[in-house]
Protein backbone atom coordinates (compact mmCIF):
# COMPACT_ATOMS: atom_id res chain seq x y z
CA UNK A 1 0.00 0.00 0.00
CA UNK A 2 2.65 2.41 1.06
CA UNK A 3 4.86 1.48 -1.85
CA UNK A 4 2.14 2.31 -4.35
CA UNK A 5 1.66 5.71 -2.82
CA UNK A 6 5.32 6.62 -3.13
CA UNK A 7 5.33 5.38 -6.69
CA UNK A 8 2.55 7.74 -7.56
CA UNK A 9 4.40 10.50 -5.80
CA UNK A 10 7.63 9.91 -7.74
CA UNK A 11 5.67 9.76 -10.97
CA UNK A 12 4.13 13.09 -10.12
CA UNK A 13 7.53 14.46 -9.20
CA UNK A 14 9.04 13.28 -12.46
CA UNK A 15 6.31 15.06 -14.38
CA UNK A 16 6.84 18.16 -12.30
CA UNK A 17 10.58 18.16 -12.92
CA UNK A 18 10.08 17.60 -16.61
CA UNK A 19 7.85 20.64 -16.73
CA UNK A 20 10.36 22.68 -14.76
CA UNK A 21 13.18 21.74 -17.11
CA UNK A 22 11.07 22.60 -20.14
CA UNK A 23 10.22 25.92 -18.60
CA UNK A 24 13.83 26.72 -17.81
CA UNK A 25 14.79 25.93 -21.40
CA UNK A 26 12.05 28.20 -22.72
CA UNK A 27 13.14 31.07 -20.49
CA UNK A 28 16.75 30.47 -21.42
CA UNK A 29 16.02 30.69 -25.15
CA UNK A 30 13.84 33.75 -24.75
CA UNK A 31 16.39 35.57 -22.62
CA UNK A 32 19.27 34.78 -24.96
CA UNK A 33 17.38 35.85 -28.06
CA UNK A 34 16.05 38.86 -26.18
CA UNK A 35 19.62 39.87 -25.52
CA UNK A 36 20.36 39.70 -29.24
CA UNK A 37 17.44 42.07 -29.75
CA UNK A 38 18.68 44.45 -27.12
CA UNK A 39 22.35 44.21 -28.02
CA UNK A 40 22.38 47.08 -30.56
CA UNK A 41 20.60 49.36 -28.12
CA UNK A 42 22.87 48.41 -25.24
CA UNK A 43 25.89 48.91 -27.45
CA UNK A 44 24.53 52.27 -28.46
CA UNK A 45 24.14 53.24 -24.83
CA UNK A 46 27.65 52.10 -23.98
CA UNK A 47 29.25 53.89 -26.92
CA UNK A 48 27.29 57.04 -26.20
CA UNK A 49 28.85 57.34 -22.78
CA UNK A 50 32.41 56.75 -23.99
CA UNK A 51 34.96 59.49 -24.27
CA UNK A 52 37.24 59.69 -27.31
CA UNK A 53 40.00 57.71 -25.58
CA UNK A 54 37.62 54.91 -24.61
CA UNK A 55 36.53 54.45 -28.23
CA UNK A 56 40.09 53.74 -29.33
CA UNK A 57 41.04 51.76 -26.23
CA UNK A 58 40.69 48.06 -27.14
CA UNK A 59 40.26 47.04 -23.53
CA UNK A 60 36.98 48.93 -23.35
CA UNK A 61 34.03 47.18 -24.90
CA UNK A 62 31.01 47.81 -22.70
CA UNK A 63 31.73 49.94 -19.67
CA UNK A 64 33.58 53.17 -20.42
CA UNK A 65 36.50 54.07 -18.17
CA UNK A 66 35.88 57.79 -18.38
CA UNK A 67 32.17 58.23 -18.99
CA UNK A 68 31.22 61.57 -20.49
CA UNK A 69 28.10 63.20 -21.80
CA UNK A 70 30.09 65.30 -24.25
CA UNK A 71 29.14 63.09 -27.24
CA UNK A 72 25.50 63.34 -26.46
CA UNK A 73 25.44 67.10 -26.21
CA UNK A 74 27.52 67.63 -29.35
CA UNK A 75 25.46 65.14 -31.36
CA UNK A 76 22.38 67.03 -30.21
CA UNK A 77 23.89 70.25 -31.58
CA UNK A 78 24.64 68.63 -34.94
CA UNK A 79 21.11 67.26 -35.10
CA UNK A 80 19.69 70.66 -34.06
CA UNK A 81 17.66 68.78 -31.53
CA UNK A 82 15.40 71.64 -30.44
CA UNK A 83 13.88 72.41 -33.84
CA UNK A 84 14.03 68.94 -35.36
CA UNK A 85 12.38 67.29 -32.38
CA UNK A 86 9.49 69.75 -32.38
CA UNK A 87 9.07 69.49 -36.17
CA UNK A 88 9.17 65.72 -36.14
CA UNK A 89 6.62 65.38 -33.37
CA UNK A 90 4.22 67.84 -35.00
CA UNK A 91 4.64 66.39 -38.48
CA UNK A 92 4.35 62.70 -37.52
CA UNK A 93 1.52 63.58 -35.14
CA UNK A 94 -0.50 65.41 -37.82
CA UNK A 95 -0.01 62.59 -40.32
CA UNK A 96 -0.93 60.02 -37.69
CA UNK A 97 -4.14 61.86 -36.76
CA UNK A 98 -5.17 61.97 -40.41
CA UNK A 99 -4.35 58.34 -41.03
CA UNK A 100 -6.09 57.14 -37.89
CA UNK A 101 -9.25 59.10 -38.66
CA UNK A 102 -9.57 57.92 -42.26
CA UNK A 103 -8.63 54.35 -41.35
CA UNK A 104 -11.41 54.32 -38.75
CA UNK A 105 -13.96 55.56 -41.30
CA UNK A 106 -12.90 52.97 -43.86
CA UNK A 107 -12.75 50.18 -41.31
CA UNK A 108 -16.23 51.15 -40.12
CA UNK A 109 -17.65 51.06 -43.65
CA UNK A 110 -16.11 47.66 -44.35
CA UNK A 111 -17.15 46.20 -41.04
CA UNK A 112 -20.71 47.53 -40.83
CA UNK A 113 -22.15 47.84 -44.33
CA UNK A 114 -22.62 45.09 -46.88
CA UNK A 115 -22.42 47.51 -49.81
CA UNK A 116 -21.96 46.53 -53.41
CA UNK A 117 -18.33 46.27 -54.43
CA UNK A 118 -17.17 45.66 -50.86
CA UNK A 119 -15.08 42.66 -51.90
CA UNK A 120 -13.59 44.66 -54.75
CA UNK A 121 -12.49 47.36 -52.34
CA UNK A 122 -10.96 44.76 -50.08
CA UNK A 123 -8.89 43.57 -53.01
CA UNK A 124 -7.91 47.17 -53.77
CA UNK A 125 -6.95 47.67 -50.13
CA UNK A 126 -4.55 44.75 -50.37
CA UNK A 127 -3.26 45.99 -53.72
CA UNK A 128 -2.53 49.41 -52.21
CA UNK A 129 -0.41 47.63 -49.64
CA UNK A 130 1.47 45.35 -52.01
CA UNK A 131 2.48 47.92 -54.65
CA UNK A 132 5.98 49.07 -53.68
CA UNK A 133 6.15 52.76 -52.86
CA UNK A 134 8.94 53.55 -55.38
CA UNK A 135 6.58 52.54 -58.19
CA UNK A 136 4.16 55.26 -57.18
CA UNK A 137 6.59 58.01 -56.35
CA UNK A 138 7.48 59.13 -59.90
CA UNK A 139 3.90 59.82 -61.05
CA UNK A 140 2.92 61.18 -57.66
CA UNK A 141 5.74 63.69 -57.85
CA UNK A 142 4.84 64.65 -61.42
CA UNK A 143 1.23 65.04 -60.36
CA UNK A 144 2.15 67.39 -57.54
CA UNK A 145 4.42 69.40 -59.84
CA UNK A 146 1.64 69.81 -62.41
CA UNK A 147 -0.86 70.64 -59.67
CA UNK A 148 1.35 73.28 -58.11
CA UNK A 149 1.95 74.94 -61.47
CA UNK A 150 -1.71 75.07 -62.42
CA UNK A 151 -2.85 76.14 -58.96
CA UNK A 152 0.06 78.56 -58.42
CA UNK A 153 0.46 77.10 -54.97
CA UNK A 154 3.74 75.62 -53.81
CA UNK A 155 3.28 71.91 -53.05
CA UNK A 156 6.66 70.19 -53.52
CA UNK A 157 8.88 71.02 -50.60
CA UNK A 158 5.95 71.65 -48.27
CA UNK A 159 4.08 69.38 -45.91
CA UNK A 160 0.89 69.46 -48.02
CA UNK A 161 1.42 66.44 -50.31
CA UNK A 162 1.97 64.07 -47.42
CA UNK A 163 -0.84 65.58 -45.37
CA UNK A 164 -3.19 65.17 -48.33
CA UNK A 165 -2.15 61.56 -48.80
CA UNK A 166 -2.56 60.81 -45.10
CA UNK A 167 -5.98 62.44 -44.91
CA UNK A 168 -7.15 60.44 -47.92
CA UNK A 169 -5.98 57.14 -46.51
CA UNK A 170 -2.84 56.67 -48.59
CA UNK A 171 -0.16 57.22 -45.97
CA UNK A 172 2.48 54.75 -44.80
CA UNK A 173 0.96 51.24 -44.45
CA UNK A 174 -2.55 52.67 -44.32
CA UNK A 175 -3.97 49.29 -45.30
CA UNK A 176 -2.71 47.70 -42.10
CA UNK A 177 -4.35 50.42 -40.04
CA UNK A 178 -7.66 49.92 -41.84
CA UNK A 179 -7.47 46.18 -41.21
CA UNK A 180 -6.75 46.70 -37.51
CA UNK A 181 -9.88 48.83 -37.22
CA UNK A 182 -11.84 46.36 -39.31
CA UNK A 183 -11.06 43.42 -37.00
CA UNK A 184 -11.62 45.47 -33.87
CA UNK A 185 -14.97 46.83 -35.08
CA UNK A 186 -16.11 43.36 -36.03
CA UNK A 187 -15.83 42.38 -32.39
CA UNK A 188 -18.30 45.05 -31.29
CA UNK A 189 -21.75 43.41 -31.33
CA UNK A 190 -24.03 44.64 -34.07
CA UNK A 191 -26.98 44.44 -31.71
CA UNK A 192 -25.81 47.71 -30.22
CA UNK A 193 -25.97 49.49 -33.59
CA UNK A 194 -29.39 48.10 -34.26
CA UNK A 195 -30.68 49.18 -30.86
CA UNK A 196 -29.35 52.68 -31.46
CA UNK A 197 -30.83 52.78 -34.94
CA UNK A 198 -34.25 51.79 -33.63
CA UNK A 199 -33.94 54.68 -31.20
CA UNK A 200 -33.39 56.95 -34.19
CA UNK A 201 -29.61 57.32 -34.28
CA UNK A 202 -28.08 58.25 -37.62
CA UNK A 203 -25.17 56.37 -39.17
CA UNK A 204 -22.76 59.05 -37.99
CA UNK A 205 -24.09 58.79 -34.45
CA UNK A 206 -23.63 55.02 -34.51
CA UNK A 207 -20.09 55.53 -35.75
CA UNK A 208 -19.21 58.07 -33.11
CA UNK A 209 -21.16 57.15 -30.01
CA UNK A 210 -21.01 53.39 -30.27
CA UNK A 211 -18.14 52.15 -32.35
CA UNK A 212 -15.53 54.84 -31.76
CA UNK A 213 -16.27 55.31 -28.08
CA UNK A 214 -15.87 51.58 -27.51
CA UNK A 215 -12.50 51.24 -29.21
CA UNK A 216 -10.20 53.49 -27.22
CA UNK A 217 -7.38 50.91 -27.06
CA UNK A 218 -7.63 50.20 -30.76
CA UNK A 219 -7.39 53.88 -31.57
CA UNK A 220 -4.32 54.12 -29.36
CA UNK A 221 -2.68 51.15 -31.07
CA UNK A 222 -3.44 52.49 -34.55
CA UNK A 223 -2.30 55.99 -33.68
CA UNK A 224 0.93 54.68 -32.21
CA UNK A 225 1.67 52.47 -35.22
CA UNK A 226 0.93 55.32 -37.55
CA UNK A 227 3.00 57.78 -35.54
CA UNK A 228 5.98 55.42 -35.43
CA UNK A 229 5.79 54.56 -39.13
CA UNK A 230 5.51 58.18 -40.13
CA UNK A 231 8.35 59.07 -37.82
CA UNK A 232 10.58 56.41 -39.32
CA UNK A 233 9.60 57.07 -42.93
CA UNK A 234 12.34 58.84 -44.89
CA UNK A 235 11.91 57.93 -48.55
CA UNK A 236 8.61 59.67 -49.30
CA UNK A 237 9.56 62.52 -47.03
CA UNK A 238 12.87 63.12 -48.75
CA UNK A 239 11.23 63.01 -52.19
CA UNK A 240 8.34 65.33 -51.44
CA UNK A 241 9.59 67.53 -48.64
CA UNK A 242 13.16 67.85 -49.93
CA UNK A 243 14.60 68.73 -46.54
CA UNK A 244 12.67 71.97 -46.30
CA UNK A 245 11.38 70.95 -42.93
CA UNK A 246 14.16 69.70 -40.70
CA UNK A 247 13.15 66.38 -39.22
CA UNK A 248 15.06 64.25 -36.79
CA UNK A 249 15.33 60.98 -38.78
CA UNK A 250 16.33 62.75 -42.00
CA UNK A 251 18.92 64.72 -40.08
CA UNK A 252 20.32 61.41 -38.87
CA UNK A 253 20.85 60.30 -42.48
CA UNK A 254 22.88 63.43 -43.07
CA UNK A 255 24.71 63.17 -39.76
CA UNK A 256 27.99 61.81 -41.13
CA UNK A 257 28.28 64.53 -43.76
CA UNK A 258 27.14 67.42 -41.58
CA UNK A 259 29.32 66.49 -38.66
CA UNK A 260 32.50 68.05 -40.00
CA UNK A 261 31.04 71.41 -40.91
CA UNK A 262 29.41 71.81 -37.52
CA UNK A 263 32.58 70.66 -35.83
CA UNK A 264 34.58 73.28 -37.72
CA UNK A 265 32.10 75.98 -36.79
CA UNK A 266 32.53 75.11 -33.13
CA UNK A 267 36.32 75.13 -33.34
CA UNK A 268 37.25 71.81 -34.91
CA UNK A 269 37.80 70.04 -31.60
CA UNK A 270 35.70 67.00 -32.51
CA UNK A 271 36.47 64.08 -34.79
CA UNK A 272 33.73 61.85 -36.10
CA UNK A 273 33.81 58.46 -34.40
CA UNK A 274 31.49 55.65 -33.39
CA UNK A 275 30.59 57.35 -30.16
CA UNK A 276 29.13 60.36 -31.97
CA UNK A 277 27.26 58.26 -34.49
CA UNK A 278 25.76 56.10 -31.79
CA UNK A 279 24.82 59.14 -29.71
CA UNK A 280 23.01 60.61 -32.69
CA UNK A 281 21.17 57.35 -33.33
CA UNK A 282 20.23 57.07 -29.69
CA UNK A 283 18.91 60.63 -29.67
CA UNK A 284 16.82 60.01 -32.75
CA UNK A 285 15.14 56.91 -31.33
CA UNK A 286 14.78 58.08 -27.75
CA UNK A 287 11.47 59.90 -28.32
CA UNK A 288 9.99 56.64 -29.62
CA UNK A 289 11.51 54.68 -26.73
CA UNK A 290 10.03 57.15 -24.25
CA UNK A 291 6.63 56.97 -25.91
CA UNK A 292 6.79 53.18 -25.92
CA UNK A 293 7.78 53.09 -22.24
CA UNK A 294 4.70 55.12 -21.33
CA UNK A 295 2.08 53.36 -23.41
CA UNK A 296 3.52 49.86 -23.82
CA UNK A 297 1.05 48.27 -21.39
CA UNK A 298 -2.00 49.37 -23.39
CA UNK A 299 -0.16 48.92 -26.63
CA UNK A 300 0.65 45.24 -26.01
CA UNK A 301 -2.83 44.60 -24.63
CA UNK A 302 -4.40 46.27 -27.62
CA UNK A 303 -2.30 44.28 -30.07
CA UNK A 304 -3.11 41.03 -28.35
CA UNK A 305 -6.82 41.67 -28.05
CA UNK A 306 -7.52 42.97 -31.50
CA UNK A 307 -4.75 41.48 -33.55
CA UNK A 308 -3.78 43.04 -36.82
CA UNK A 309 -4.57 40.21 -39.16
CA UNK A 310 -8.03 41.08 -40.40
CA UNK A 311 -9.13 37.61 -41.38
Amino acid sequence: MKKKKTQIKTKKNAKYYKKMVARIIVYFILTVVGFVYLEPILEMLAKTLMSAEDVIDPSVTWIPKKPSLENLSFAATVLKLGTTLKNSILFAGALAIGQTFVASLTGFALSRYAFKGRKFFFAMLILAFIIPVPVLMVPRMMMFVVAQESLKFQLIGTVWPQLLMAFFGQGVYSTVLVLIFYTAFNMIPRVLDEAAEIDGASALKVYWFIVIKMSATTILVVFLFSFVWNWNETYITSTLLRGNLELLPSKLTLFNSEFDSVSKAVGGAFKLNEAFKMSATLISISPLLLLYAFVQKWFIQGIENTGITGE
Partner: protein, 304 residues
Protein backbone atom coordinates in the same frame (compact mmCIF):
# COMPACT_ATOMS: atom_id res chain seq x y z
CA UNK B 1 -36.25 57.93 -66.34
CA UNK B 2 -32.54 57.73 -67.02
CA UNK B 3 -31.79 59.08 -63.58
CA UNK B 4 -34.00 56.43 -62.10
CA UNK B 5 -32.12 53.77 -64.01
CA UNK B 6 -28.77 54.99 -62.70
CA UNK B 7 -30.19 55.07 -59.21
CA UNK B 8 -31.39 51.51 -59.61
CA UNK B 9 -28.14 50.32 -61.08
CA UNK B 10 -26.01 51.62 -58.26
CA UNK B 11 -28.46 50.55 -55.59
CA UNK B 12 -29.35 54.01 -54.32
CA UNK B 13 -32.86 52.88 -53.52
CA UNK B 14 -34.82 53.34 -50.38
CA UNK B 15 -34.47 49.68 -49.53
CA UNK B 16 -32.33 48.13 -46.83
CA UNK B 17 -29.69 47.14 -49.37
CA UNK B 18 -29.82 50.60 -50.92
CA UNK B 19 -29.20 52.22 -47.59
CA UNK B 20 -26.33 49.86 -46.86
CA UNK B 21 -24.70 50.72 -50.16
CA UNK B 22 -25.23 54.44 -49.72
CA UNK B 23 -23.84 54.56 -46.22
CA UNK B 24 -21.00 52.22 -47.03
CA UNK B 25 -19.86 54.44 -49.86
CA UNK B 26 -20.32 57.57 -47.78
CA UNK B 27 -17.90 56.27 -45.18
CA UNK B 28 -15.52 54.84 -47.76
CA UNK B 29 -15.47 58.04 -49.84
CA UNK B 30 -12.26 59.65 -48.55
CA UNK B 31 -10.37 56.42 -48.97
CA UNK B 32 -11.77 55.79 -52.45
CA UNK B 33 -10.82 59.29 -53.61
CA UNK B 34 -7.35 58.97 -52.12
CA UNK B 35 -6.83 55.52 -53.56
CA UNK B 36 -7.86 56.61 -57.05
CA UNK B 37 -5.82 59.80 -57.06
CA UNK B 38 -2.73 58.76 -55.15
CA UNK B 39 -2.41 55.05 -55.83
CA UNK B 40 -4.41 53.67 -58.75
CA UNK B 41 -3.77 56.45 -61.28
CA UNK B 42 -0.05 56.75 -60.44
CA UNK B 43 0.23 52.97 -60.70
CA UNK B 44 -1.30 52.91 -64.17
CA UNK B 45 0.66 55.99 -65.15
CA UNK B 46 3.90 54.27 -64.19
CA UNK B 47 3.17 51.51 -66.68
CA UNK B 48 2.52 54.17 -69.32
CA UNK B 49 5.67 56.10 -68.40
CA UNK B 50 7.83 53.02 -68.62
CA UNK B 51 7.42 53.19 -72.42
CA UNK B 52 8.24 56.91 -72.57
CA UNK B 53 11.13 59.29 -72.22
CA UNK B 54 10.37 61.99 -69.72
CA UNK B 55 12.27 65.24 -69.82
CA UNK B 56 11.83 67.90 -67.23
CA UNK B 57 12.12 71.32 -68.84
CA UNK B 58 11.32 74.86 -67.77
CA UNK B 59 7.86 74.66 -69.29
CA UNK B 60 7.02 71.33 -67.70
CA UNK B 61 7.42 67.66 -68.47
CA UNK B 62 8.03 66.66 -72.09
CA UNK B 63 6.94 63.09 -72.70
CA UNK B 64 7.93 61.32 -75.88
CA UNK B 65 7.21 57.69 -76.75
CA UNK B 66 10.20 55.43 -76.53
CA UNK B 67 8.83 51.96 -77.25
CA UNK B 68 10.61 49.10 -75.54
CA UNK B 69 13.88 51.04 -75.38
CA UNK B 70 13.66 51.61 -71.64
CA UNK B 71 13.26 47.90 -71.04
CA UNK B 72 16.10 47.14 -73.43
CA UNK B 73 18.32 49.57 -71.56
CA UNK B 74 17.30 48.21 -68.18
CA UNK B 75 18.04 44.61 -69.04
CA UNK B 76 20.90 44.78 -71.53
CA UNK B 77 22.66 48.14 -71.29
CA UNK B 78 22.51 49.02 -67.61
CA UNK B 79 25.11 46.90 -65.88
CA UNK B 80 23.74 47.43 -62.39
CA UNK B 81 20.07 46.65 -62.74
CA UNK B 82 20.00 42.90 -63.38
CA UNK B 83 22.59 42.03 -60.71
CA UNK B 84 20.65 44.23 -58.29
CA UNK B 85 17.45 42.34 -59.07
CA UNK B 86 19.16 39.00 -58.64
CA UNK B 87 20.71 40.00 -55.35
CA UNK B 88 17.32 41.27 -54.22
CA UNK B 89 15.66 37.90 -54.92
CA UNK B 90 18.61 36.17 -53.30
CA UNK B 91 18.05 38.25 -50.21
CA UNK B 92 14.25 38.20 -49.97
CA UNK B 93 13.62 34.47 -50.23
CA UNK B 94 16.01 33.18 -47.54
CA UNK B 95 15.30 36.16 -45.29
CA UNK B 96 11.56 35.71 -45.46
CA UNK B 97 11.88 32.02 -44.71
CA UNK B 98 14.16 32.53 -41.72
CA UNK B 99 12.15 35.46 -40.37
CA UNK B 100 8.88 33.51 -40.52
CA UNK B 101 10.33 30.46 -38.79
CA UNK B 102 12.12 32.44 -36.09
CA UNK B 103 9.10 34.67 -35.51
CA UNK B 104 6.82 31.66 -35.14
CA UNK B 105 9.12 29.90 -32.68
CA UNK B 106 9.53 33.05 -30.59
CA UNK B 107 5.81 33.77 -30.61
CA UNK B 108 5.06 30.17 -29.62
CA UNK B 109 7.49 30.34 -26.72
CA UNK B 110 6.28 33.79 -25.66
CA UNK B 111 2.77 32.44 -25.62
CA UNK B 112 3.77 29.53 -23.35
CA UNK B 113 5.19 31.45 -20.43
CA UNK B 114 3.43 33.40 -17.72
CA UNK B 115 6.07 34.76 -15.32
CA UNK B 116 7.88 37.77 -16.74
CA UNK B 117 5.60 37.77 -19.74
CA UNK B 118 5.16 41.52 -19.81
CA UNK B 119 8.87 42.25 -19.60
CA UNK B 120 9.86 39.83 -22.38
CA UNK B 121 7.08 41.01 -24.66
CA UNK B 122 8.19 44.59 -24.16
CA UNK B 123 11.60 43.59 -25.48
CA UNK B 124 10.26 41.57 -28.38
CA UNK B 125 7.88 44.27 -29.56
CA UNK B 126 10.66 46.83 -29.50
CA UNK B 127 11.67 46.38 -33.18
CA UNK B 128 8.12 47.37 -34.16
CA UNK B 129 8.86 50.78 -32.70
CA UNK B 130 12.46 51.40 -33.69
CA UNK B 131 12.87 49.54 -36.97
CA UNK B 132 13.67 52.21 -39.53
CA UNK B 133 16.02 52.91 -42.37
CA UNK B 134 18.39 55.53 -40.96
CA UNK B 135 18.72 53.83 -37.59
CA UNK B 136 19.37 50.45 -39.15
CA UNK B 137 21.96 51.84 -41.53
CA UNK B 138 23.77 53.56 -38.65
CA UNK B 139 23.82 50.27 -36.71
CA UNK B 140 24.67 48.11 -39.72
CA UNK B 141 27.36 50.55 -40.79
CA UNK B 142 29.01 49.77 -37.51
CA UNK B 143 28.55 46.03 -38.04
CA UNK B 144 29.91 46.19 -41.59
CA UNK B 145 33.06 47.86 -40.40
CA UNK B 146 33.50 45.12 -37.82
CA UNK B 147 33.01 42.46 -40.51
CA UNK B 148 35.52 44.16 -42.80
CA UNK B 149 38.02 44.36 -39.97
CA UNK B 150 37.53 40.67 -39.26
CA UNK B 151 37.97 39.81 -42.93
CA UNK B 152 41.37 41.44 -42.95
CA UNK B 153 42.63 38.83 -40.55
CA UNK B 154 41.02 35.68 -41.87
CA UNK B 155 38.83 35.33 -44.87
CA UNK B 156 37.10 31.99 -44.56
CA UNK B 157 34.76 31.06 -41.77
CA UNK B 158 36.23 30.18 -38.44
CA UNK B 159 33.19 28.41 -37.05
CA UNK B 160 33.98 24.72 -36.84
CA UNK B 161 30.54 23.39 -37.79
CA UNK B 162 30.36 25.69 -40.81
CA UNK B 163 33.78 24.47 -41.92
CA UNK B 164 32.45 20.94 -41.73
CA UNK B 165 29.44 21.88 -43.81
CA UNK B 166 31.67 23.66 -46.30
CA UNK B 167 33.47 20.35 -46.88
CA UNK B 168 30.24 18.97 -48.34
CA UNK B 169 28.67 22.00 -49.93
CA UNK B 170 30.27 25.43 -50.16
CA UNK B 171 27.08 27.37 -51.03
CA UNK B 172 25.15 25.99 -48.06
CA UNK B 173 27.94 26.99 -45.70
CA UNK B 174 28.07 30.46 -47.24
CA UNK B 175 24.31 30.78 -46.91
CA UNK B 176 24.40 29.77 -43.26
CA UNK B 177 27.29 32.09 -42.56
CA UNK B 178 25.31 34.90 -44.16
CA UNK B 179 22.36 34.13 -41.92
CA UNK B 180 24.52 34.18 -38.80
CA UNK B 181 26.29 37.34 -39.88
CA UNK B 182 23.06 39.20 -40.27
CA UNK B 183 21.18 37.54 -37.47
CA UNK B 184 20.64 40.84 -35.67
CA UNK B 185 19.14 42.40 -38.75
CA UNK B 186 16.95 39.37 -39.41
CA UNK B 187 15.78 39.39 -35.83
CA UNK B 188 14.88 43.03 -36.10
CA UNK B 189 12.48 42.24 -38.91
CA UNK B 190 10.55 39.80 -36.72
CA UNK B 191 8.72 42.52 -34.79
CA UNK B 192 5.43 42.62 -36.66
CA UNK B 193 5.36 38.87 -37.50
CA UNK B 194 5.71 38.04 -33.80
CA UNK B 195 2.82 40.36 -33.03
CA UNK B 196 0.74 38.68 -35.73
CA UNK B 197 1.58 35.17 -34.57
CA UNK B 198 0.90 35.91 -30.90
CA UNK B 199 -2.54 37.26 -31.63
CA UNK B 200 -3.25 34.24 -33.86
CA UNK B 201 -2.06 31.81 -31.18
CA UNK B 202 -4.30 33.42 -28.60
CA UNK B 203 -7.32 33.06 -30.82
CA UNK B 204 -7.03 29.25 -30.93
CA UNK B 205 -9.84 27.75 -28.89
CA UNK B 206 -8.32 26.19 -25.72
CA UNK B 207 -10.84 23.34 -25.80
CA UNK B 208 -9.04 22.02 -28.87
CA UNK B 209 -5.92 21.50 -26.76
CA UNK B 210 -7.96 19.81 -24.04
CA UNK B 211 -9.54 17.46 -26.53
CA UNK B 212 -6.12 16.63 -27.97
CA UNK B 213 -4.72 15.98 -24.48
CA UNK B 214 -7.59 13.64 -23.66
CA UNK B 215 -6.70 11.74 -26.84
CA UNK B 216 -3.17 11.39 -25.42
CA UNK B 217 -1.50 13.75 -27.87
CA UNK B 218 1.83 15.12 -26.68
CA UNK B 219 3.05 18.68 -27.07
CA UNK B 220 4.86 17.92 -30.29
CA UNK B 221 1.77 16.41 -31.92
CA UNK B 222 -0.37 19.30 -30.72
CA UNK B 223 2.10 21.72 -32.26
CA UNK B 224 2.09 20.02 -35.66
CA UNK B 225 -1.53 18.90 -35.90
CA UNK B 226 -3.34 21.82 -34.29
CA UNK B 227 -1.22 24.94 -33.85
CA UNK B 228 0.55 25.06 -37.20
CA UNK B 229 -2.55 24.45 -39.36
CA UNK B 230 -4.40 27.06 -37.31
CA UNK B 231 -1.79 29.78 -37.75
CA UNK B 232 -1.17 29.05 -41.42
CA UNK B 233 -3.35 31.93 -42.69
CA UNK B 234 -1.52 34.28 -40.34
CA UNK B 235 1.78 32.97 -41.65
CA UNK B 236 0.67 34.05 -45.12
CA UNK B 237 -0.21 37.54 -43.88
CA UNK B 238 3.14 37.77 -42.09
CA UNK B 239 4.98 36.57 -45.20
CA UNK B 240 3.33 39.21 -47.36
CA UNK B 241 4.14 41.83 -44.75
CA UNK B 242 7.79 40.81 -44.58
CA UNK B 243 8.16 40.80 -48.36
CA UNK B 244 6.62 44.26 -48.59
CA UNK B 245 8.81 45.52 -45.76
CA UNK B 246 11.94 44.06 -47.31
CA UNK B 247 10.88 45.49 -50.67
CA UNK B 248 10.81 49.02 -49.32
CA UNK B 249 13.86 48.55 -47.15
CA UNK B 250 16.32 51.35 -47.82
CA UNK B 251 19.50 49.37 -48.25
CA UNK B 252 18.45 47.07 -51.09
CA UNK B 253 20.34 47.83 -54.27
CA UNK B 254 17.30 48.04 -56.55
CA UNK B 255 15.66 50.52 -54.26
CA UNK B 256 18.67 52.80 -54.35
CA UNK B 257 18.89 52.47 -58.12
CA UNK B 258 15.29 53.64 -58.49
CA UNK B 259 15.92 56.43 -56.02
CA UNK B 260 18.90 57.80 -57.95
CA UNK B 261 17.04 57.43 -61.26
CA UNK B 262 14.14 59.42 -59.78
CA UNK B 263 16.52 62.14 -58.72
CA UNK B 264 18.01 62.34 -62.22
CA UNK B 265 15.76 64.97 -63.82
CA UNK B 266 16.98 64.96 -67.43
CA UNK B 267 15.44 61.89 -68.95
CA UNK B 268 15.74 59.83 -65.79
CA UNK B 269 12.10 59.62 -64.87
CA UNK B 270 11.20 57.28 -67.71
CA UNK B 271 13.93 54.86 -66.69
CA UNK B 272 12.93 55.22 -63.07
CA UNK B 273 9.39 54.22 -64.02
CA UNK B 274 10.68 51.22 -65.97
CA UNK B 275 12.90 50.10 -63.10
CA UNK B 276 10.08 50.57 -60.62
CA UNK B 277 7.61 48.69 -62.76
CA UNK B 278 9.90 45.70 -63.26
CA UNK B 279 10.63 45.73 -59.54
CA UNK B 280 6.90 45.78 -58.84
CA UNK B 281 6.28 42.77 -61.10
CA UNK B 282 9.08 40.94 -59.32
CA UNK B 283 7.61 41.63 -55.88
CA UNK B 284 4.14 40.65 -57.05
CA UNK B 285 5.62 37.39 -58.40
CA UNK B 286 7.31 36.64 -55.09
CA UNK B 287 4.09 37.36 -53.19
CA UNK B 288 2.18 35.19 -55.67
CA UNK B 289 4.67 32.42 -54.98
CA UNK B 290 4.00 32.80 -51.26
CA UNK B 291 0.26 32.49 -51.91
CA UNK B 292 0.79 29.28 -53.87
CA UNK B 293 2.99 27.85 -51.13
CA UNK B 294 0.50 28.57 -48.36
CA UNK B 295 -2.57 27.48 -50.30
CA UNK B 296 -4.54 24.76 -48.54
CA UNK B 297 -4.18 21.72 -50.73
CA UNK B 298 -6.70 19.63 -48.81
CA UNK B 299 -9.54 22.05 -49.33
CA UNK B 300 -9.82 21.39 -53.05
CA UNK B 301 -13.20 19.81 -53.68
CA UNK B 302 -13.48 16.64 -55.72
CA UNK B 303 -9.96 15.51 -54.96
CA UNK B 304 -8.87 13.17 -52.26
Amino acid sequence: MAGNNIKKRFGFKKTYQGRQTRRGYAFMLPWIIGFTVFTLLPFLYTIYLSFMTVESTVTGYVITPNGWNNYYTAFFKNTEFVPALISFVGMVIPYTFVIIVVAFILAYLLNKIDVGKGFLRTIYFLPVIIMSGPVMSQILDDADEAILAAQGIEKSTNIFILQMIAEYSEPLANFMEGIFDQLTMILWFTGIPIVLFISALQKINPSLFEAAKIDMANEWQILWKIVIPMVKPTALVATVFIIVQLGTYDTTAVYNLIKTATGNTNGGLGYAATFAWIYCILILLIIGGAFVLFKDRDKKPGRR
